[in-house]
């Protein structure tokens, strides 16, 4: 139950590309060929393990319909990861990617990890978008890329988990300030915090309080229950 981190994801893309099906496959391991049109946003959650740590993914599955766009945009903010989905059997869904990407970049934080997904890879005979095209688009825009099939479950796990791995790495590198929830990351209630992740995350408060990070010499104690960190400061 307890998790080390919680990542907020959004799934975006044209209507009918299989966003809700991807989510259902990931959370419930089943496929539902006929799916109700999503209104606004629906939710799913699942626990995964990365680097021996339990991570809870809280997934916001948005409506693809153009008319819902103004509402769903509101939900982008505060997401750590986004799955941008198109349908490999419908070229128009691929052509709309630029709009989706602009929208996502504009309404979310700049560090958000975006995974481009070409869904319905099981329908090879009806393919309209080559895999290479997807790869090229991803390369050009700095996205991760995968082709999936929500029907056969091919690459579905990988798509969600690889996105989480990327976010996790960014946390380790200190790119994400884990104490700022606007980044879509929350530290779990019972987090076996390591000194390294905490020093990375503590940068902002230290900067804000006018302390040079280098003055913090020793990490004295951690109060994990309450998120209190005790540092020893070098005498100046």
């Amino acid at each position: 139950m307890a998790y080390a981190y919680l990542f907020k994801y959004i799934i975006i893309g044209d209507t009918g590309v299989g966003k809700s099906c991807l989510l259902l496959q990931f959370t419930d391991k089943r496929f539902q060929p006929v799916h109700d049109l999503t209104i606004g946003v629906e939710f799913g959650a699942r626990m995964i393990t990365i680097d021996g740590k339990q991570i809870k993914l809280q997934i916001w599955d948005t409506a693809g319909q153009e008319s819902f766009r103004s509402i769903t945009r509101s939900y982008y903010r505060g997401a750590a990861g986004a799955l941008l989905v198109y349908d490999i059997t419908r070229r128009d869904t691929f052509n709309h990617l630029t709009t989706w990407l602009e929208d996502a970049r504009q309404h979310s934080n700049s560090n958000m990890v975006i995974m481009l997904i070409g869904n319905k890879s099981d329908l090879e005979s009806r393919r309209e978008v080559k895999k290479e095209e997807g790869e090229a688009f991803a390369r050009e825009h700095g996205l991760i890329f995968m082709e999936t099939s929500a029907k056969t479950a091919s690459n579905v796990e990988e798509a969600f988990i690889n996105t989480a791995k990327e976010i996790y790495e960014k946390i380790q590198e200190g790119v994400f300030d884990i104490n700022n929830e606007a980044n879509g990351i929350k530290i779990g209630p019972n987090h076996p915090t390591t000194a390294s992740t905490l020093t990375a995350g503590i940068q902002t408060p230290l900067t804000r309080s006018g302390i040079d990070k280098n003055e913090v010499t020793t990490l004295l104690d951690l109060d994990e229950d309450h998120g209190v960190v005790i540092f020893k400061f070098a005498a100046i």
């Binding site: 307890a2 509101s74 939900y75 309080s209 302390i211 100046i236």
Partner: protein, 505 residues
């Protein structure tokens, strides 16, 4: 709790030998140590509090000063005043946070009163022995607090220069203490019965939160409803993790917050809050673009919407008794009426299902209890559900219904923004009444189940369970009412949009 006890002990052991410059005890937190621990505090809570009163990172200037001040421990009174002045400032700041958090609970209003009355007459009041044990505990802690006072003196001196300091970390630590302090005052000021009932609520708000201490408090000065709930859930998760390891004999306890999250109640609430906040700021920005008569007129129109939200009729608990609604069909009819023309059928279906399954559970539970009354054989008693199981079913039902209700409000908000067709605020408040009534009715049914099932149980087993159901029911009702309030800015912006559309035509 063993962890925090250990760290608390470690912190206490560290502080006397603290050498200048190496460790700095936050001065802002010291007033906490002088106030007595409230009698209702469970013994396992107190060490946690002490654990929080630990050194915090401080700006470098202050550390530089520390050695100087400690050489002259006989500080002047003015220094103390300065230090306390700084503390007082943050105090009021922190109080506003806690008061907004308490507001959520306070809206329970009569629900809570009812719980208290019930508790006073029959339930859940600690026996005199319990109370006296607590008083002893309190005295013991006061002694410890006095011991702390000694080091407090030096701490205050150390903090001389820090009164004006507004470091992020320092502020956070003071905030933490204030939250605790305010919590204490509220609790200590009440009757014993109120303390006992209120403790859980206060715990959830003041104690349960690791997050209050983090940047959350900084970023978001208003504790939102989802925040309060999330914090409660986190605390439960923490407790579960602890009991899993140490106390396996204990049966799985029903945790409202965790269940509420499982039914995606938290997510829907968060999304609803986002829409509400955005609509609110849109309304504000529209108002700034207007002037003169236009502004006056729009203000008047918005005032009308606001009025219908503040005129929300408190539902009368006593009326609920008159309703039977064995299988939930009455609820379904009322819900359908309230939702007429609001096009959120899918979500309403989920609510109806949840309600029907609750009703059938209650019917099921009531059966074996009746048989038991006729012939009390050992086997029958074993077959029948335990009080813990009935309690768990009750909590689960309340959590599910509340989550579904909030989902309904969220979907309504989306549909209003989507279609720009705005329902009457009156219809929405009627809907809120229907939902709250149902929560109240079900909690009464469940507690009567508990009473019959637990007729052979001792009061100290049964009473806390009954109290728990009433408490979560009143919490549920207040969460639903708060979610209803979140719809107000959405109706306002929708009104503004419809208005501008019609003027364009």
């Amino acid at each position: 709790m063993s962890d925090s006890e250990a760290t608390a002990a470690a912190a206490a052991a560290e502080s006397p030998e603290a050498t200048p410059g190496s460790e700095d005890v936050s001065p802002a937190e010291t007033p906490d140590s002088s106030s007595p621990t409230p009698p209702d505090t469970l013994t396992d809570v107190a060490p946690t509090r002490r654990a929080r009163r630990r050194p915090e990172p401080k700006p470098a200037e202050e550390v530089k000063e520390a050695p100087k001040v400690e050489e002259q421990p006989a500080k002047t009174p003015s220094e103390t005043t300065v230090a306390q002045g700084g503390w007082g400032y943050w105090g009021s700041w922190g109080k506003s946070i806690i008061s907004s958090a308490t507001a959520t609970v306070a809206t329970v209003g009569q629900g809570l009163t009812q719980v208290i009355e019930k508790a006073e007459t029959s339930l859940g009041i600690p026996s005199p022995t319990e109370l006296s044990a607590r008083v002893e505990e309190e005295e013991k802690q006061e002694g410890e607090a006095a011991a702390c006072e000694t080091r407090t003196e030096t701490d205050r001196a150390t903090g001389e220069g820090s009164a004006a300091m507004e470091s992020a970390m320092g502020m956070l630590s003071s905030l933490t203490s204030v939250v605790q302090n305010t919590g204490k005052t509220v609790i200590t000021g009440g009757l014993d019965a109120l303390e006992f009932i209120g403790k859980k609520t206060m715990d959830v708000i003041a104690e349960g939160d690791p997050g209050f201490k983090k940047t959350k408090g900084l970023m978001n000065r208003n504790a939102t409803l989802s925040q309060v709930l999330r914090e409660a859930k986190e605390r439960e998760e923490l407790q579960t993790a602890e009991t899993e390891g140490s106390d396996s004999e204990k049966k799985a306890v029903a945790h409202y917050g965790m269940l509420f999250d499982e039914f995606q109640g938290l997510s829907h609430l968060e999304a609803l809050e986002i829409l509400s906040r955005e609509s609110e700021s849109k309304v504000k920005s529209v108002l700034t673009t207007l002037s003169g008569d236009e502004l006056v007129q729009l203000r008047e129109e918005l005032e009308l919407i606001k009025d219908s939200f503040s005129l929300f009729l408190e539902f009368d608990d006593e009326e609920v008794d008159e309703r039977k609604d064995e299988d939930g069909t009455e609820f379904e009819t009322e819900l359908t009426e309230a939702l007429e023309g609001l096009s959120v059928n899918a979500t309403a279906d989920k609510l109806n299902k949840a309600c029907k399954s609750a009703c059938s559970q209650i019917t099921e539970m009531s059966k074996p209890a009746k048989e038991e009354g006729e012939e009390e054989s050992e086997e029958d008693a074993q077959k029948a559900l335990s009080v813990e199981e009935v309690h768990a079913a009750a909590i689960r039902t309340l959590a599910e219904l509340t989550a579904r209700s909030i989902e309904l409000f969220h979907k309504l908000a989306e549909m209003i923004l989507f279609s720009n067709g705005s329902p009457e605020a009156g219809a929405l408040s009627q809907l809120t009444v229907v939902l709250c009534k149902e929560i109240s009715l079900l909690s009464k049914k469940f507690t009567s189940c508990l009473t019959t099932t637990g007729s052979n149980e001792k009061g100290d087993v049964l009473n806390p369970l009954i109290t728990g159901v009433f408490l979560e029911a009143s919490n549920s009702a207040s969460y639903i009412q708060d979610a209803f309030q979140l719809l107000m800015p959405i109706l306002e912006i929708s009104h503004i949009q419809r208005r501008s559309e019609s003027s364009e035509q």
